[in-house]
Amino acid sequence: MLLGRSTKYDDKRSRIKQQVKSEGDIDFGNIVNSAFGAEALYKELICKCHPDRFAPDINKVAVANDITERLGKHKNDIKKLKELKVEAINKLNINL
């Protein structure tokens, strides 16, 4: 009967469990692909999108700053990096 005793601690624990389990599906395909492809793509993008490369053009420097900031945030997520690559090609007119 002692095993069956419910405590506030148990309630909190099960609430956190339910909350985390209801966060949705995990994209394992993206994780596996990121493990092998993300680093190379990140290095390529971070070189090509560096704000100093667009120095005289203030608008492009601002866009490059924004993109490099997001690159750092998503450096291990190949799906997000591919989206940023398209954005960089369109907004910064660079060849990748």
Binding site: L3, V32, A35
Partner: protein, 132 residues
């Protein structure tokens, strides 16, 4: 009587968690196999449950087998950089880390199929419950 109900609820929860763990590992292995077959991944990754590392224990940890191990079928010893890269990709996915923690895992291990060295991380350091 309520205590008997709680006891019964705990047993059901235990089986449900166990099922979720199996599904998580099966999902990872399925994705890794597909990526390898399609040529997107150069090597095959396989996830399995390991004993874990006791000092990394947290409040959700399983008593036995609390490690999430990724075995890389590389054919030779992986470099430390490659091992760390694979681990970082797993740890960068907040949802996966949180799911692993609540399902009773406390250690992430990455190692090659050859050699004796690998890396391990304490999953508790990478959860952000309540911050999102």
């Amino acid at each position: 009587m309520p205590s008997l109900v709680n006891f019964w609820t705990r047993i059901i929860d235990w089986f449900r968690d166990r099922q979720d763990r199996v599904q998580l590992i099966a999902g990872f292995n399925r994705a890794a196999r597909e990526a390898f077959i399609n040529g997107e991944a150069p090597t095959h990754l396989e996830a399995c449950v390991s004993r874990g590392y006791r000092p990394y224990k947290h409040q959700f940890s399983n008593f036995f087998n609390s490690g999430f191990r990724i075995k890389v079928f590389y054919g030779k010893q992986l470099s430390k950089q490659d091992t760390v890269n694979i681990g970082n990709v797993i740890l960068a996915n907040d949802t996966l880390v949180r799911r692993l923690v609540v399902l009773g895992f406390d250690t992430l291990e990455v190692h090659s199929d050859v050699g004796t060295y690998g890396c391990r991380w304490q999953l508790r350091d990478y959860i952000m419950i309540g911050e999102g």
